[in-house]
Symmetry: C2
Subunit: 330 residues, 2 copies
């Protein structure tokens, strides 16, 4: 969204100036990723305030005016009474701002970030390309730690600034933990890989599961069916919670409803997890320009887990942004 | 610090139960690193609350009792009136807790973490060993991106779970930005490398600068003199701000006071930056068992920068935990 539109909406919410601390929100509005505590003061003439040590670097990169961040007490003297802050602001800083202000908490910038511009979709697509290309270059052998290290290294060489999150490389019984990361144990079957690259600060998030036994294949087929049906239903105007229901109903029909331990997906952009959530509790409807994951999973307690995750750009003709096959072998 | 001591201090502060969200604080108290939003309810019989999808994994790892985290409204019904929260708690969650509680913000757990146990020092020492061993295996050639990728990869293979922070590999003019990360440009002189490993969730944080020209050598000598004098003054009872003054005075005497753009150091542990700060504003005194960085730097605007950073364990006989030479060449 254009910054002037966001400022207009801010004024409509009765906020004169919005204090922005969250690095992703600062990057969204200015193009500069803060490496120390910085504040973007959003108002008619927005200004990015950074500590002296980052001043030169920020001036080279920021699309907005940059000034030196002095102490909060000094800054407060320049602020209007009707002040906005982000939901993520820490309580210590919030209390320091003080009671002389009428402070309103708003997720205005996070909401603005839900619909991706062409440039943002390009960055996400590039992150996915790097992640997939790298994935195909890695042999899934040795320990989980080693394979994850190789994958992250190759992503870095292929242009990812860092892993989008701690790579999950969880095999055998460890695959039954949806959030297992990696272990020094040797890779066995099945193997869940959940990984992402970062390009121009935008993330990708994909999962694949390599299976071997008949039982693993059987669970895999159910998960893939749930994922494919869910993806088919993605279009503007549909409730995000409905996509979760489509996937969950299929898995439940096969008797594994209790083993689908998480929601079906989430938005991805500057953050790996952002709005909307594809969960039963989400009120939001899908809109053209959202980028979301679709990632049903079945985790058979004490045995193993399977998850398949792709990223989808919502549109009149929604488009899966991933290119690698869902069904891959060791 | 023992958990029972922390609970006693909490009661002394008039808090019946402390809601802990911060992953590092949860790890400190339970040994479990939460991968989804989790709450450690600190009280006489502490309990770690995690979402259903992480339940099995948390039960295997946590030293404290584990239970399923249900919704905040349900949890609230079980909470006492005198409730504590952390300074880092986000304002959205804080507001959801609601006005029926007497909420006190306390950094009790962060304060408990300042003095490291033997086990914690061991983890930090291991992280440093991994980081240094890996550093010596990397040839500093090619682009900054590539060299950083190799360093991070080798750290991972040597047992680091991830880079402790975005590796800084900044050469030539880019070294004049204290927080430059890496670029696709080829490495030139001087080269500032600021890197760290993570072992058992504990971080290391070290910097070296490789120099070539006479001017670079001259600046290097000043920075190293400042660092060595600062380290010599580290002992229990000395103000943290005094260590900053020692380093800053030397750099100022040589005429570069304005080019020393940051504070002299900070605590390191589960977080890369934690208490105390070695800055002019810090009131705290050094105590035995603290682990701090000492990292003066000079950043000649538009030209280049030099920083040397080691980690020191404060004690009657303070000990530099790093082993690699301060003066290294390409």
């Amino acid at each position: 969204m254009e910054i002037s539109e966001i400022v207009n909406q801010m004024h409509e919410e009765g906020i004169e100036s919005l204090l922005i601390f969250k690095p992703e929100n600062i990057t969204y509005l200015s193009g500069y990723w803060p490496t120390s505590t910085s504040i973007l003061l959003l108002k008619d003439d927005p200004v990015l305030l950074v500590p002296k040590l980052d001043l030169k670097e920020a001036e080279e990169i920021s699309a907005l005016e940059v000034d030196e961040l002095r102490s909060l007490p000094k800054l407060k003297k320049t602020l209007p009474v009707h002040l906005g802050v982000e939901p993520s602001l820490d309580i210590a800083t919030y209390k320091k701002i003080g009671e002389e202000f009428k402070i309103q908490v708003t997720d205005l910038v996070e909401r603005s970030r839900i619909i991706k511009s062409e440039g943002e979709v390009h960055n996400i697509q590039k992150a996915i390309e790097i992640a997939e290309k790298s994935f195909l270059e890695v042999e899934m052998r040795g320990s989980e730690d080693e394979a994850a290290a190789r994958l992250e290294y190759i992503m870095r060489l292929n242009g990812s600034s860092k892993p989008a999150f701690n790579t999950i490389m969880a095999s055998g019984r460890r695959s039954s933990f949806p959030h297992a990361s990696t272990s020094p144990e040797n890779i066995e079957s099945p193997l869940v890989i959940d990984w992402g690259a970062v390009y121009n600060h935008y993330a990708s998030d994909t999962s694949r599961t390599l299976v071997e036994t008949e039982k693993e294949e059987e669970i895999f087929d159910i998960v893939l069916e749930a994922q494919e049906k869910a993806i088919k239903n993605i279009k503007p105007g549909v409730k995000a919670s409905y996509i979760d229901k489509v996937a969950r109903d299929i898995i439940t029909d096969y008797g594994y409803g209790e083993s689908f331990l998480h929601s079906t997906g989430h938005g991805v952009g500057l953050e790996v997890h952002e709005m909307p959530s594809l969960s039963s509790k989400e009120d939001k409807k899908l809109e053209a320009g959202m980028v979301i994951t679709v990632e049903p999973g079945i985790y058979v307690e004490g045995e193993f887990g399977v998850r398949v995750e792709d990223m989808v750009l919502v549109g009149k003709r929604s488009r899966v942004l991933n290119n690698i096959d869902s069904r891959l072998s060791f």
